[in-house]
């Protein structure tokens, strides 16, 4: 009977996050703005996902993120086709799928949005990996545009004063690079204002993520993967602050009303590494089917993880440290410390590790992190092998068996809630 079915749909409807619509509008407007930049006389800079975007915003340059585009390509299930094209061009299949997809896409304006707008300049920060260096060099040659490289030394165990000096000096060069290529003077007051908005946006993003410490969690990491796009792309703008204020309010309402991301949350899991973009729905349903909510992840929290190092009153000065000490630019021990802290903050019952064929710097050290977390938190972990965008590295039946077995193990294991925390 239809009347019997209604309550089920209503519950599902209640669980839907309403802000999604607004987010889609903002992202659409952003891409239209970027794609029409040449008509409106604005400049476009392609920038790596961990790169310092604030100076671009301060100079009214539209930042465009090939990695965000790579995620869209993955989610649209267009990754395999573009990766194959890059391979036919001579790129190794071992190269990061974002790089492959972007390089191939640029030659044919393919992908879900008909390619990215042509860049006027490229900003490459190697705080995420070394791949981006060669990738951006390739694109700089292809488009014949200037490339700025910001070299952020790896933080093995500590961040040295020498490293700080080195990165700060480059940031000053970055500003003059922008002055040269935008043909106007850099407005430092404007940067202070953008910096203030950037910090405000990051604080709000952190607060949004933090709402999942509530049991049951009002959103899951799968939702975070989606809502992340703004803090990555438009950090330092009022739009971001407004949007996350709205999203935070919605999450707080959900907590108050007891609306959870997963219908019956029995297990709380922590996700490590990038999402599997072409399989987020399948994975979300798989985990939810076991009553498991991925309450947090190391990936989306990277865009607020370096906040302790940011100083609003000296934004430019503190950027060096904040951009050097992001999660993926840390040694394994420091990464493990952060995971252990997250397990405790989010009261996770288990850790799900995505060993990502594309992203070597993120996947290196995962066995050690797994062992450290097991030793220090006493929680079990699961490793699944896949790739964020190249679906050829995803084996459904193998991954399904691993997840099912892991959940069976958690279901019969010791009561997750009685486990001691570090």
């Amino acid at each position: 009977m239809p009347s019997d079915l209604k309550p089920v749909d209503a519950a599902k409807d209640r669980r839907k996050i309403k802000s999604v619509r607004r987010m889609k509008e903002i992202m659409t407007a952003y891409y239209i703005d970027a794609k029409t930049a040449s008509d409106t006389g604005k400049k476009v800079a392609w920038i790596t996902s961990g790169g310092p975007v604030e100076p671009l915003i301060a100079m009214d340059v539209i930042p465009v993120y090939p990695e965000n585009h790579g995620a869209m390509i993955g989610a649209a299930k267009m990754g395999v086709d573009l990766c194959e094209k890059a391979e036919a061009m001579g790129y190794a299949s071992d190269l990061c799928a974002y790089a492959r997809a972007d390089i191939a896409c640029a030659t044919e304006d393919g992908g879900p949005i008909g390619g990215l707008p042509r860049p006027d300049m490229l900003i490459c920060c190697n705080n995420i990996c070394g791949t981006v260096l060669k990738w951006y060099e390739v694109q700089a040659r292809y488009f014949g545009v200037p490339l700025f490289i910001l070299d952020t030394p790896f933080t093995h165990t500590e961040y040295s004063p020498a490293a700080n000096q080195y990165v700060r000096a480059q940031l000053v060069e970055y500003l003059s690079f922008l002055e040269t290529h935008c043909g106007k003077a850099f407005d430092r007051d404007r940067l202070t204002e953008v910096g203030r908005l950037s910090v405000a946006g990051q604080k709000l993003w952190q607060a949004v993520l933090h709402t999942t410490t509530h049991r049951p969690a009002p959103m899951s990491a799968f939702d975070a993967f989606f809502h992340l796009a703004l803090i990555v792309t438009l950090r330092g703008t009022q739009t971001v602050v407004d949007y996350y204020t709205e999203l935070l309010a919605e999450m707080e309402t959900r907590v108050a009303e007891g609306i959870s991301a997963v219908p019956e949350e029995r297990f709380r899991l922590l996700w490590d590494n990038l999402p599997v973009w072409y399989r987020t729905r399948w994975l979300a349903e798989k985990f939810a089917g076991h009553g498991a909510c991925l309450v947090a992840d190391t990936y989306t929290s990277s865009w607020c993880g370096a906040m302790p190092y940011l100083d609003e009153s000296d934004f430019l000065g503190s950027m060096a440290e904040a951009y050097s000490r992001i999660y993926i630019n840390l040694g394994t021990d420091l990464m493990a410390d952060m995971v252990v802290e997250m397990v405790s903050t989010y009261r996770a019952d288990g850790l799900v590790i995505h060993s990502n064929r594309s992203c070597k710097p993120y996947s290196l050290g995962q066995y050690d992190i797994q062992r450290i977390v097991q030793e220090r938190c006493g929680i079990p972990s699961l490793m699944i092998e896949a790739d964020m965008t190249d679906a050829r590295n995803f084996s459904e039946s193998q991954i399904e068996t691993r997840i099912d077995a892991f959940m069976e193990m958690l279901a019969t294991g010791c009561s997750p809630r009685s486990r001691p925390f570090p």
């Binding site: 193998q398 691993r402 892991f406 193990m409 010791c414």
Partner: protein, 256 residues
């Protein structure tokens, strides 16, 4: 009450019937291309072999990679949980299970209280699985069933270092071309499986008593290679191949 476990693997489908903690019988068939069909066929073959009518059977639990395609089953449980249950039924003290099946191999650590502590499975490559042995048997033109005994006659196992099935196959072919004794090549193949699987088991915790389950356990050469690498005796149950099905039947009976 009679319960049945059906384990549909990539190469063979196994079924076992249990009654009050006693194994009534078991059956093994080739899976073929249709997992659902294989599940039904092995179930019917089991009923015929044990001589019971379908309506006398209580809970039926399916496992193995084809577990979700077995329509006669009431429940699907992964092979990890089933192999652990089957192994513990055969030896309650068991602390580590190594299962090598057709398309994957796994290591399961048990906490001694009947629970799984951790598990690991091979990565995507077929190296360290039954399929790997099949490929090698073809390259060597030897019947797979003879592998175990032949390897015992090795005087100096050949070194096979590739971690990839395809590369290992070409290594084997070049060893053949060099005139290396077949027995030594086969022993080398077993050693490479042993090394790979033991490394995986160490990640979850290699412990005594260690039991090997799955069809590959019938190959004495692999068992010996595992013992050598693990430095521990390896128990092999006479029911190794149907261990997953036994575990599934036990889970069905609420005993797993």
């Amino acid at each position: 009450m009679i319960s049945v476990g059906i384990d549909v693997g990539s190469i063979s489908a196994k079924a076992a019937a249990m009654e009050d903690g006693r194994l009534l019988g078991s059956r093994v068939l080739l899976t073929g291309y249709n997992a659902g069909k294989a599940g039904r066929a092995v179930f019917e073959a089991l009923l015929a072999a044990v001589g019971i009518a379908a309506d006398r059977v209580g809970p039926i639990v399916a496992t193995g990679y084809g577990r979700n395609s077995v329509d006669v089953a009431h429940k699907a449980v992964t092979e990890i949980t089933c192999h652990a249950a089957g192994a513990q039924f055969q030896n309650p003290a068991v602390r580590c299970v190594i299962d090598i099946g057709g398309q994957d191999s796994k290591a399961i650590a048990l906490d001694g209280g009947g629970r799984i502590k951790d598990f690991a499975m091979n990565d995507k490559c077929a190296a360290g699985t039954g399929r790997f042995l099949e490929v090698m048997a073809r390259a060597l033109e030897v019947d797979l069933d003879a592998f175990g005994d032949l390897s015992l006659a090795a005087d100096q196992p050949a070194a096979i270092s590739s971690l990839c099935t395809v590369f290992a196959e070409s290594e084997v072919i070049s060893l053949i071309a060099k005139g290396e004794r077949r027995e030594n090549i086969i022993a080398g193949i077993h050693r490479s499986i042993g090394a790979r699987v033991v490394a995986m088991a160490k990640r979850v915790g290699l412990a005594d008593p260690l039991m090997m389950t799955g069809g590959v356990a019938m190959n004495i050469g692999v068992v010996k290679a595992l013992e050598e690498k693990a430095g521990l005796p390896v128990q092999v149950s006479p029911y190794a191949q149907v261990n997953g099905a036994i575990g599934a039947a036990l889970i069905g009976a609420g005993m797993g």
